[in-house]
């Protein structure tokens, strides 16, 4: 009887240890994020305040920043439009038309490609355009990066539409097109938009595919004007021995806020329905 009581205690202790180790590890997991948010939020806002106090540098700095932000907007938006229209079309094919085998081939290819590092897209376009640097090249690099991911996620969303609805629509005499536009897409549109916004949020912060094209290309020799925000931030971090950290913090803050906003929007659209 004595041993049983002590064994019970051992079990309880073990469980308490388990719970505390898990809690400790979980806090450890969140710690880097808090550190990151704190440092960028704190220094970013502080830098923003001090920069706005210096009239001379303010003009230059804000002109560069606004330019970078505008370029980011243009490149992200146009690459998103291209990649989404192409990608969703391909996903409709793979989910609604392709047979088992063709579908498998498409999914396999897209899976492999979507796992590839984003910097490779920049390298590929750098080689294909033999070093010509332009925003168009940057957009193409982002499209190349985004396409497989768009197809994969869109395909997954569309495949998740219950077959019963599709069969129901076809049984009423609707054609394939009618079924897709009147049944499949309306059912899937929320999760589709959410998933695509997630992909866009990720692409908005990508510097790697742009890096080789826009930083290594010929145009960058003249000035640093083809520089969407992520790239601008990266070169601020690498170029110049004693670069002002303040600018980097401000840029990081703007980038972070933009992307978290897109992410929040995606979550808001994809929020679970309440009945």
């Amino acid at each position: 009887m004595v041993t049983r009581v002590s064994y019970k205690t051992v079990r309880k202790l073990k469980n308490a240890l388990f719970v505390s180790v898990l809690s400790a590890m979980t806090s450890l997991a969140v710690l880097p994020l808090l550190s990151l948010l704190w440092s960028i939020g704190f220094h970013g806002i502080a830098a923003l305040v001090s920069l706005s106090g210096a009239p001379l540098s303010r003009g230059v700095a804000s002109a560069v920043l606004v330019n970078a932000l505008a370029q980011s907007l243009v490149t992200t938006a146009s690459s998103a439009v291209i990649a989404v229209s192409l990608g969703v079309a391909a996903a409709i094919y793979s989910s609604q038309y392709a047979g088992l085998r063709v579908g498998r081939v498409i999914r396999f290819t897209v899976d492999i490609l979507s796992g590839a590092p984003s910097i490779l897209a920049g390298m590929v376009l750098f080689a294909l355009l033999s070093g010509v640097s332009s925003l168009t090249a940057g957009v193409l690099a982002l499209v190349l990066c985004m396409l497989p991911v768009v197809v994969r996620t869109a395909d997954q969303v569309l495949v998740a539409v219950p077959v019963a609805y599709i069969e129901g629509s076809l049984a009423l005499g609707a054609s394939r097109i009618q079924t897709i536009f009147a049944t499949v897409l309306p059912i899937a549109h929320k999760s589709l938009i959410t998933a695509l916004l997630f992909v866009t949020a990720r692409m908005a912060g990508e510097a790697a595919p742009l890096l080789i094209i826009l930083d290594g290309g010929t145009a960058s020799k003249g000035g640093r004007w083809f520089q969407p925000l992520p790239l601008r931030l990266y070169s601020d971090l690498t170029h110049g021995g004693s670069f002002p950290h303040q600018i980097a913090y401000v840029e990081a803050l703007i980038l972070l806020v933009t992307i978290v906003t897109i992410y929040g929007l995606a979550r808001w659209i994809g929020r679970p329905d309440r009945w």
């Binding site: 041993t3 049983r4 064994y7 019970k8 079990r11 309880k12």
Partner: protein
């Protein structure tokens, strides 16, 4: 010997949704108490409150009292409650990664029994009580998936009996079994009630009539009526009970 179980004003909810409203029920020693009612009436949730399994689900809360032999189980350590109040589920759920023997021994090992000879002895005893020993004694090392569904359910019963509970809760134990396996389980319940207090949830009225000494009828989270099985089936007091047991709905 079993021990009596008593529920006093037990209510349960998931988040805001109320599943059970103030159920009070006495489950007498060494008898079979059946809980009947249409799907969604809260009967499974009720017995899950009895061994404190309900509270392990996210968003689940309960209030009221459950007394085991006069002691409130909500004052006890939940692992000890579940050790005394065993549960059989509606689908056989033996540990698929373990052998037949390890399944039966799992509970004993959890509670600290390491001696091999004693483990083997207790396992054999439990398997015999669950009327499974003769069918599996030559293949105790096989994975539990080698057994038929009916045998798997009896394996789960053996696993539960091995740790020597005083109450056995059964949540529609035969609902996924064929008629023959169902019959075996029902005969087993007859046998088991000599040693244990049994509470069985079922949607099968004939089953309740066959095995239960006492029956309670649940509807929409409330207990409508309780009594001896004969009384409840032959002279129901409430119109809803009468409608249900005569098959007018449910």
């Amino acid at each position: 010997m079993g021990k009596a179980l008593e529920a006093r004003a037990v209510s349960a909810r998931f988040h805001e949704q109320v599943i059970l409203r103030e159920v009070t029920l006495h489950m007498p020693v060494n008898q079979v108490t059946a809980i009947i009612g249409p799907p969604g009436c809260g009967k499974s949730t009720f017995i899950r409150c009895l061994n404190r399994l309900h509270e392990t689900a996210p968003g689940a809360t309960m209030s009221g009292e459950v007394l085991l032999d006069g002691h409130s189980v909500y004052d006890m350590d939940p692992t000890e409650v579940r050790r005394s109040v065993a549960m059989i589920f509606h689908r056989p759920n033996p540990f698929p990664t373990m052998s037949i023997f390890d399944n039966v021994a799992a509970g004993l090992r959890l509670h600290g029994l390491r001696n091999r000879a004693k483990l083997a002895e207790s396992a054999e005893q439990a398997l015999r009580r669950a009327a499974l020993w003769d069918e599996v004694k030559d293949r105790l090392h096989l994975y539990s998936s080698a057994l038929s569904l009916g045998q798997q359910q009896r394996l789960c019963i053996a696993r539960a009996l091995a740790i020597e509970p005083v109450v056995v809760l059964m949540d529609e134990p035969a609902s996924s079994l064929d008629p023959l396996s169902t019959l075996v389980i029902e005969e087993l319940i007859e046998e088991l009630k000599r040693q244990y207090t049994i509470v069985i949830v079922t949607h099968n009225l004939q089953q309740a009539a066959r095995v239960a000494d006492k029956t309670a009828f649940f509807l929409d989270g409330e207990m409508i009526e309780q009594g001896t099985t004969t009384a409840l089936f032959t002279t129901p007091q409430d119109k809803r009970t009468a409608d249900y047991v005569t098959g007018r709905f449910g």
